[in-house]
């Protein structure tokens, strides 16, 4: 008993001592941190990939050098906490000046409520590009994609909100040593047929040649779609061309015209093109490890970097992480499309898709209530100048988003291929349809899955989910419209009272936006009415 008391005593006093040390550290620090009148610009992002934080840091230090009295701080928030984090900071009015675009920050409602549209500044050149080839180029046109789409440009609100740092392209990474060993040479597949040949060879001879089991493609929940979605889009290129309007718009997959075509039984899930798209998804899935749908990104990366798989498909952002981990040389090639003469898959495709629409990402949004809005905007310009974007690309190993930035020879194969056809739609129709597709995927991608099993199961819940998604889209459009309507009323009044020219310009813009929004909304409502369904939930 006595010994026990001594132990307890030692333990508790140890704890007390630790606590005392902690106390002194905590309190001595708060005392020193008070008082300073420098301008602090904060920017928050969720990129924990190696190198990126360092790259942002380097840009911040450069900015501080030419702007004494300004401190730039980066805040990196882990991806799984990011939605909660942004939502609370925005609602609480404590958000940093610049926030990276994410699914949580990028909803129409949040963009409209919390972020400053940057449209009025993108028409004039970025002052930090002075002395470069982009000196006279409007800010918007200095980016690879001209900020024409998601995530920087919001097609519902018709405003530019985000300024990107990188462009993301999808590539298939392969283990060069293993490839030479198994295939015998390093001729890379340029068509889908050749690609499948490689996969087949790995499956047949991989174990015999290397002495251990080699999986052709390392798949996971997040890596498999990198290949299968591209192939899917290719198969529905011609189908989409039938539905695409005269403006030749690119599809996101959740286009109203597709949703209502299915609901009105003009387009069927069993349409030959869609069947073929799912068939090619199924076929590619057969060359990934069994049960890959239960694995995560890190599992697939592990399989690949340990030499257990020949290939992995992922975005350009993973390059540094992969090369630093893998004890072998890595090469890349684009996801090969079936050619027109492919006996099974050729008849649905136009050809390789353009990557001109490849989204420029790592985009920062300007917080509406920022205390130093002008300064933050200035930093945003600085960050996206050609010079700084080059610094970013060099330090992070990511692709640059700004044109004319020289990239490392190694990064060349990643640069977006601008020439190419407009792609088909992604297998994404909205949140609820995504859920039912996700729920049934195992029937397509499982070891004895088939397109028929999958589509039979999917078609049971698909229409219900489409209805729910259409109702949600209508509701979002309606809410957007209500917000714009009030803003319009306010600017109309302001333009009548003195603050005229600027407000009048805004009125004209808002009227145009409203017309576009209302056309979409009324179209959605009309379609639902024709189907005899409530237009909104």
């Amino acid at each position: 008993m006595n010994r026990e008391k001594v132990m307890n005593l030692i333990g508790l006093s140890l704890l007390a001592a630790c606590f005392a040390i902690a106390l002194t550290r905590v309190f001595s620090r708060t005392a020193t941190h008070l008082g300073s009148d420098v301008v602090t610009i904060r920017f928050a992002h969720y990129q924990l990939e190696s190198g990126v934080r360092g790259a942002f840091d380097a840009i911040a230090r450069e900015y501080e050098k030419i702007h004494p009295g300004v401190v730039v701080e980066q805040m990196s928030i882990p991806e799984n906490v990011y939605p909660t984090w942004t939502v609370t900071q925005l609602a609480g009015g404590t958000a940093p000046d610049l926030i990276e675009f994410g699914n949580s920050t990028g909803t129409d409602e949040r963009l409209a409520r919390y972020f400053q549209p940057l449209t009025e500044w993108v028409g004039s050149p970025n002052p930090y590009n002075k002395g470069t080839s982009l000196e006279k180029t409007p800010w918007r046109q200095t980016f690879l994609d001209g900020l024409t789409g998601w995530p920087n440009y919001n097609t519902n609100l018709l405003e530019i909100y985000g300024m990107p740092n990188t462009v993301v392209t999808i590539r298939i990474f392969y283990n060069r040593d293993l490839y030479r060993k198994i295939i015998g040479n390093e001729t890379l597949p340029r068509t889908y047929q050749e690609f499948i040949e490689v996969c087949r060879k790995v499956e047949q001879d991989g174990e015999r040649i290397t002495g251990h089991k080699v999986i052709p493609i390392a798949g996971s929940k997040s890596n498999a779609p990198r290949i299968t979605e591209s192939l899917f889009c290719g198969q529905v290129q011609k189908l989409w061309a039938q539905y695409q309007g005269d403006d030749l718009r690119q599809a996101n997959g959740n286009e109203a015209v597709l949703r209502f075509a299915v609901l009105k039984h003009k387009l069927s899930l069993y349409d030959p093109a869609i069947q073929s798209a799912y068939q090619i998804t199924h076929d590619a899935g057969q060359y990934m490890q069994p049960g890959f749908m239960q694995l995560n990104r890190e599992d697939a990366v592990f399989t690949f970097t340990q030499g257990n798989a020949l290939m992995i498909a992922t975005g350009s952002y993973d390059t540094v992480s992969l090369t630093s981990q893998a004890p072998f040389e890595i090469g890349v090639f684009p996801v090969p499309y079936p050619t027109k003469d492919d006996p099974t898959y050729g008849k649905f495709v136009f050809g390789p898709a353009t990557e001109a629409g490849a989204p420029t990402q790592g985009s920062f949004l300007l917080y509406m209530e920022s205390k130093h809005k002008q300064q933050a905007l200035d930093f945003l310009r600085f960050m996206t100048s050609q010079k700084m974007n080059a610094l970013f690309a060099a330090k992070s190993g990511w692709l640059p988003a700004v044109i004319g930035v020289d990239v490392d020879e190694k990064m060349k194969p990643f640069m977006p291929v601008m020439d190419g056809y407009i792609n088909g739609f992604r297998p994404f129709w909205g949140a609820d349809t995504y859920r039912v597709i996700d729920n049934n995927q195992y029937l397509l991608l499982g070891s004895d899955g088939s397109v028929k099993k999958f589509l039979d199961a999917l078609s049971r819940d698909f229409e219900g989910a489409l209805i729910s998604d259409s109702q949600n889209v209508n509701k979002t459009s309606r809410n957007n419209l209500l917000r714009q309507d009030v803003a319009l009323a306010s600017y109309m009044q302001l333009s009548r009272e003195g603050a005229a020219p600027a407000a009048a310009k805004k009125v004209s813009e808002l009227n145009e936006i409203e017309t576009k929004l209302e056309l979409d909304l009324d179209d959605g409502i009309l379609e639902m009415n024709e189907l005899g369904l409530p237009p909104m939930k």
Partner: protein
């Protein structure tokens, strides 16, 4: 002495009153600025500060009516109250800027703010407005909404085509830049949606372009659409003109490759 006092008093009170008015105008501006930034609570408080005796009261009431539509949470009660306030603004004068705009928003309430929209009422209000004040920009906006509503409200196709041609003639009376542009955008879209003639679609698209669109994205879509429709109608010169215009103005667009191919295909037979 007394005269001076009176004069001083008059000057002083004029000063006070004007100061108060100026103050009220500034307050209104602040409130509208808040409203434009989606801060309805702040705006509402601003409008309520203006006393009923102030000459700016009518606009303040109008502002409150507007804010009642957007103060969160939105309730049926707020919407009804908003209708009353708008009506009181109209009752004072139904033909000045504020009166006409208030009327326009009565129509908007029936069309989109109500929990159960009443399109018939909205249509009646818009028709009334455009009929009585065909010159006023807001009434012309009401006409664009009327076009939208009537074309997209559920009616048999036959009537829709009839309405469409009626709108075509009425639309030529529009003068306000925004109304003209949006009218043609809507009509062009309707041609595509309901399968009216492609020639008309091209006419309306060109008219919208002539009026001038202001957003980059609308512009890009419009240029491609004009070129595509022209190509389908075999007006090669026009198509090529707009394809090239698109390439010049939107160099980094994802459609450039497709458009270049279209140009090549359009030029070929001519050679």
């Amino acid at each position: 002495m007394r005269d001076l006092t009176v004069r001083l008093f008059v000057v002083f009170s004029w000063f006070i009153v004007s100061a108060v008015f100026a103050n009220d105008t500034a307050k209104l501006q602040d409130a509208w600025t808040s409203a434009s930034r989606a801060l309805p609570d702040e705006a509402m408080a601003g409008f309520k500060q203006i006393p009923a005796s102030s000459p700016q009261d009518r606009e303040a009431v109008y502002g409150q009516a507007m804010m009642l539509l957007t103060v969160q949470p939105v309730t049926r009660g707020n919407i009804d109250q908003s209708v009353q306030l708008f009506q009181s603004v109209i009752d004072k004068d139904s033909s000045d800027d504020l009166g006409i705009t208030a009327k326009y928003f009565l129509g908007r309430i029936e069309q989109i703010y109500r929990f159960e929209p009443d399109y018939a009422k909205a249509i009646a209000i818009y028709e009334d407005l455009f009929h009585n004040h065909p010159e006023h920009p807001v009434a012309q906006r009401a006409f664009v909404k009327l076009v939208l509503l009537k074309l997209y409200d559920r009616i048999p196709d036959a009537e829709r085509a009839k309405d469409f041609s009626a709108f075509e003639s009425q639309g030529s009376k529009l003068q306000d830049h925004d109304a003209v542009r949006d009218f043609h955008l809507v009509m062009a879209q309707a041609c595509a949606k309901f399968g009216f003639s492609e020639e008309k679609r091209l006419e309306h698209l060109l008219a919208a372009d002539a009026a001038g669109v202001v957003k980059d994205d609308t512009k890009a879509n419009l240029l491609v659409s004009i070129a595509e429709v022209a190509r389908k109608l075999n007006r090669k010169g026009l198509a090529l003109q707009y394809y090239h215009k698109f390439l010049d103005e939107c160099p980094r667009d994802y459609r450039t490759y497709t458009v270049q191919q279209r140009i090549a295909a359009t030029e070929q037979p001519a050679q």
